[in-house]
Amino acid sequence: MNTLGDLERAVLEHLWAVGAPVSATQLRDSFADRGLALTTVHTVLSRLEQKGFVDHDDARPRQFRARGSREEHVAELMHEVLGQAGDRQAALARFVGSVGDDEVRMLRELLAGAGDDAAAR
């Protein structure tokens, strides 16, 4: 499928794999099997750039490269998810919020205690 979302993912994966600046025409040639027009490649690149995943330099022709690795993006997201505060709490619903070590110990005792009760009955 050639939806924009799929293309964005494919182009970003490609940029990550190459690891070096790539021009739009090179990208089009790399994706020859998908039969992309150069304008489509530019659309995908500018969308990725808007979202902050791709950078370009001022060389002629323009060279594009990925901003940050996949691991860096995941780490950044997890940092926000785990350390969420204030407004962020409204942005996503996390299964269990952050708790301290003391509370973890108490939770384990709660669960173990309930298990003993069930076994005693």
Partner: protein, 310 residues
């Protein structure tokens, strides 16, 4: 008529700003019926805002007429006041305007900000992570900590970490997914949003803090209840409780001890009510709670409009 109305609204606002939220957040029945309690909190928030702004407006516009709709119309059409306008009338008008703009403005700002954060998170997840086998709206994130969350919105996303799948058994992961799906289908983010906004708007009001925390904990309990309804298996309550403890333990230790009130924290309350459930609230009590919520909304509305009709 107007001064009595302003006085009554002011009294209601004072009750809703302090004793009512304090009593509700201390009460134990909300744990037995989180949904009815959530309705009550929404009513408290709405009625509180309505009565304080209504009280200020009614007093501020008193020289222009005998009821708020009439006085408002005279004021808008720039008719001369029927009685002399004193300084306190101007102060009340200004305060009403400032409060209304602040409450609605912060709500709007909060709405935009969370929408932007969600859009960014969704874009990142859609680009960085392949859709999981479980469904088009589920993503498996490669991360060792056991974490699950959902991003609400028109195109919701449910995210599990690889650590979650590795540490929990299949039944527990099902319980986690059912809990997160309950948040999405019941739009819990919309119930929480006004309280996030008003806590930011009214940092001096302890009730705003209290209301936010209560609503945040109640939607979790409600999601637990809904999840239990959709789970099968011999001991669903224990499975969900074990999943909560496992996730809390796996992701724990990021907070310095003492950063949260430790004993009786929100997570412990959830685990306790799963392991040793109290009897559900009787139907009559639930009806009373919902009737109180309705009355809370009707009283300020009627106080504002009724003088115009009699």
């Amino acid at each position: 008529m107007l001064p009595a109305t302003a006085l009554a609204l002011g009294l209601l606002a004072a009750l809703l700003a302090w004793p009512v939220p304090a009593a509700l957040s201390r009460a134990s029945w909300p744990q037995r019926d989180p949904l009815a309690a959530l309705v009550c909190w929404q009513a408290i928030g709405l009625a509180g805002g309505l009565s304080i702004i209504g009280a200020l407006l009614t007093h501020g516009l008193a020289p222009w007429g005998h009821s708020l709709p009439e006085a408002w119309w005279h004021w808008v059409t720039r008719q001369p006041p029927e009685e002399p306008v004193r300084g306190d009338h101007w102060v009340a008008q200004t305060l009403a305007a400032v409060l209304a703009v602040e409450l609605l403005g912060v709500l709007l700002l909060s709405l935009l900000r969370t929408a932007r954060t969600r859009r960014r998170h969704r874009a990142l997840l859609e680009l960085v992570v392949q859709p999981a086998a479980a469904g088009e709206d589920t993503r498996l994130l490669d991360h060792p900590a056991p974490v699950a969350f959902c991003i609400p919105g028109a195109r919701p996303l449910l995210v599990l970490s690889s650590g979650m799948v590795a540490e929990l058994d299949v039944a527990q992961v099902d319980a986690v997914v059912a809990h997160e799906r309950a948040h999405l289908t019941e739009h819990h983010h919309l119930l929480l949003l006004p309280f996030v906004a008003w806590r930011a708007a009214l940092p001096v009001l302890p009730a705003a803090d209290r209301a936010h925390d209560a609503v945040r904990d109640l939607v979790e309990m409600r999601a637990d209840d809904v999840a239990l309804g959709s789970l099968t298996g011999p001991d669903r309550r224990r499975t969900l409780a074990a999943a909560i403890v496992a996730v809390a333990a796996g992701a724990g230790g990021q907070l310095p001890d003492g950063a949260l009130a430790v004993i009786g924290g929100a997570v412990a309350v959830r685990v306790r009510r799963l392991l040793a459930p109290a009897a559900p609230l009787p139907v009559a009590a639930r009806v009373v709670a919902l009737a109180c919520a309705l009355a809370l909304l009707l009283v300020p509305t009627l106080l504002l409009v009724l003088p115009a009709l009699v």
